[in-house]
Point group: C3
Chain length 421, copies 3
């Protein structure tokens, strides 16, 4: 009887992990839609290709090497011992029953959950370098980022490494996933330079409006939904009263932080620009989500709303500031995931007594420097060898033309040549 | 051992509630896509902004006041006692185990499920007033509706108030959510008047086609999917044979009612207009879903199909009728959620022997009058103070221009000015 | 105590079935978006209508007759005995407890899961015959296919018929669902002929680009997400260590097979055409998913990746080959679901020792011949009686105009007449 109950709990926790992972996988669609809505139509097919491909590369690279690097110090881990096996052997029923509850979910469900996180980090890069980077250079970067750069820093915290020991607290990855993605993006953007026409010779900043805002909106809603899995699944257990209460609180806090981010960004943009700027509102939702990701469990729902709202205010000013610095980020990814990711990490000690500002700063600096420097080296090698930037005329024609050989909306443009044959 | 089983059941029911709530949250994306697909491109960014913002406002207002108003008479409830706490204290493991199964899910999971329902009711309003209402007047209305008007009537049924005592039966909210939303919308629409050009001086009714029907379609599919959580979660329990059978039946009935609505609306439109009208077909799906929401458990699947199909027929005629009455509802929300919501409530006694036509009528009249009158007062105050309608030239230019300062599709229109800089 | 545990396991398995079913239902949205993105704008509203309607028809027809045909030989089954009942009577708590675990999920949850599979098979047909078939002929075909042709062959394997006895192994339906859909599509396409202008008189093959590639991309992501339910739910049980490990492995393998398909198709298209073809990349994802569907449990994740990758390579060449044969399939459905479905079935014996090439071939031939011939007869009857092909001038104007009387994007086209009234 007791064994059946143990097995049932194992099944429930595994199912909860799998559903959470499926929701995070869905975030890949969210990034694809968000980014394709915020670029121009002439770069849309390329950014879609990039998003589908980077997700796939992340899944395969993490399977082959990344997971083993990240969890090298975990029980049953170890890179060399795993290289032939690829993944930890699955738990046998005997081991589960003998473990007295220590083994409480499928090892493969853990892998599934982790692998979609890697893809999330990589998706963040995609938007920032949009419309001017060579596709294949980007994809090669994705191989290194998801197979090596991300897992190495991931092992420092979630793999039980030095940041975990130092008390760095990042519940679901404001830093490990979001700021890491933004750091890699920043390195790429600095080496790549802004899109042609974005900044004028006399210091003008030209708005380059996204081609399809309903896409950006559904992308944001997809990310919002997926974040319930991202944060909710990071509790890692569900099967008793305490744990399921925790997961419920994370759902509530995640939702209300996003809501706070929306309201704050909407009002901030209204005050700053005089209009209800939709793209800022969407970035406000994402900022609220990123901000609460470092600690979605400890705050009360009201505090979570405020943490999200502050994220929503920060993101508006961060986007404006980056433009002043002539750092061209077409979708605002560095502001949303990087700047607000740092805010989320710094906000952890407000509600979580086990966290300290010192440890948070150590984590921020460590992760940022590692990802930024490692990424910069890879981008630089790519720049020197194959080139990372499109030719000027190709950029003018659009990435779709040169990279994909097709148009995203062949019939909708003035010069569209599709339609009736 | 018994305690572990009790805890496991609690975890499963909480998880079921959270997944159901996430599906209902996803309906916010459905409404955003449906509505943005059915308006003109010049009002698209504004309606997207409205949808993201109203969801966020609903979540925060219901957190701060709404939930406490609605469940004032519930155990542990009471408005004044809660105002500092915002939400019921979470159940301790001791209380759960001592309750003998009476406490079987997390209080915060209940809040999460309830809060997404409020947002659904508010989403309904958004579509009906599209393309001509001032954004900020709408958002202020959303504050009052989600924080006060909706919860007050919600307390009458689900909070254990007089409608519950009178035997009013509304399983998942054909009336409490859908008709309530439609009543608020109707009050707004009547005070607002039709869009310019919708009705000609000689009684002509001009069709104003939606700009992006794939968006409307994905919106409908999202709503369909989300409705499994909306109705399925309203069973409130899953963890034994009887309850999980009930949830399964609700899934089947919800799905087949929507299917019946589609087929009936498609054929009705074919007979009435000679064409397979896509927008009517989509409204047929939603009508089927609204119709079954008042009682998705008692009917056999075949009866559920018929109830949905009748909803699908009704919605076609309701949309035509409202146009004849010169009530301009760009997305058909009042017909789908209001008229068919009433049908759903009246259909309950067919399969549910505990329901009576008298109690159903009492509920319909009470909810409608309260929401309609309270909403009309708020709309009126907004009209007198800040104005609820766009200036004539702003409406001609489009809500996006004046309210959001950007375009939803800057490159796709004849006069588009985006693209190559 | 033991009874409570049995009930809890029943509830968990039922919930797992319902969530899996909801994910498969969501695939209907995926097909609708994929297909509407890959056709021209003038056929978009019609293909959306078709997709919403076929899903609904499938649900109702399978309810009324299909389920009973397919599971005629199952315990409690039998067509004649069921006709009044429509569905098996639900399990009572007593029967569940008395069954010793043999009855472990709700009968209606099984129906829900099965019904969405039928709709998937039918969705496959829709894309292949796009842009030139009469809507109502298609819908009548859908009635016969979902109520009769599909369930008959489904009964051979999943209903315990001769293919099950012969050892034919098709875990989640590479053949029973995907190749079956493709066989029906092929019969329709051959009788229908290619779209006007697709193939020139001198053997030219003209590309007819899809109008909206972001739609096609979100459609692919939706299908990818839904496939976790499609394959994961086909394990049919979750509630112990062995079963939940199996479901986890299926999630991992399904995901990584799709990733392998993407990478392989992307590289294959790059080598073959010199560009990173987005539509081929999307078809690569779907090919990976179809390929792994016949056996998502037995292979290691690395082998699953390879099986998916081979699917991704096959699909590129299959699409090219079909075009050379002048078989016009606007969305590549026959290649993705038919050709790669066969690959998936033939790959089963690689990892599953219980499968044999002989039995797999028997299944492929039996299912293909039955569905192809039965479909061809129905298409032929439709062709002779009401006609299956649009008039030439209607096809030139677009299916939307003649069938739906509206446009999918009235404002975006050069000759758009929407917008300001």
């Amino acid at each position: 009887m007791e064994d059946r109950v143990t097995e049932l709990a194992y099944a429930l926790d595994t199912f909860y992990f799998l559903i959470s992972g499926a929701l995070v996988m869905w975030m890949a669609a969210g990034f694809a839609m968000l980014e394709s809505g915020l670029v121009r139509s002439k770069s849309t097919a390329e950014i879609l290709t990039k998003n589908v491909a980077l997700y796939s590369i992340a899944c395969v690279m993490y399977l082959i090497v990344g997971y083993n690097i990240m969890y090298v110090d975990m029980p049953g881990g170890g890179f060399l011992s795993q290289i032939g096996l690829l993944l930890p052997a699955e738990n046998s029923t005997e081991d589960v029953l003998a473990s007295g509850g220590d083994i409480y979910y499928s090892g493969l469900s853990d892998f599934f959950f982790q692998v979609v996180f890697v893809a999330t980090a990589m998706s963040i890069v995609s938007g920032a370098v949009a419309e001017r980077m060579r596709l294949w250079a980007f994809l090669i970067f994705a191989v290194v980022m998801t197979g090596f750069i991300y897992p190495v820093q991931g092992s420092w915290s979630w793999g039980g490494g030095f940041l975990a020991e130092a008390g760095f607290s990042d519940f679901a990855g404001s830093g490990i996933v979001h700021m890491a993605g933004a750091a890699a993006a920043l390195a790429g953007v600095l080496l790549l330079g802004p899109r042609k026409g974005k900044y004028g010779p006399k210091g003008e900043i030209n708005a380059i409006p996204g081609a399809n805002l309903p896409l950006a909106t559904i992308g944001t809603f997809i990310l919002w939904l997926g974040w319930f899995g991202f944060n909710g699944g990071s509790e890692l257990m569900l099967s008793n009263v305490t744990e399921s209460n925790a997961v419920a609180k994370i759902f509530v806090n995640t939702n209300t932080a996003a809501a706070g981010g929306v309201i704050a960004a909407l009002i901030t943009a209204r005050l700053a620009f005089g209009k209800a700027d939709l793209t800022m509102t969407l970035n406000g939702a994402l900022a609220g989500l990123v901000a609460i990701t470092a600690e979605p469990l400890a705050p009360s729902p009201l505090l979570a709303t405020i943490i999200g709202a502050i994220g929503g205010i920060i993101v508006v000013f961060a986007i404006v500031l980056l433009d002043k610095l002539r750092i061209d980020d077409p979708v605002g990814a560095i502001s949303v995931h990087g700047v607000v990711g740092i805010w989320g990490l710094l906000a952890v000690p407000i509600s979580n007594g086990d966290a300290s500002i010192g440890a948070q700063l150590l984590g921020i600096v460590s992760i940022f420097l590692w990802v930024f420097i490692a990424s910069a080296i890879v981008w630089l090698i790519l720049k020197v060898t194959m080139g990372i930037r499109l030719e000027e005329e190709d950029e003018a024609l659009g990435a779709d033309h040169v990279e994909c050989g097709l148009e995203a909306y062949p019939e909708f443009m003035a010069g569209g040549k599709g339609g009736d044959l």
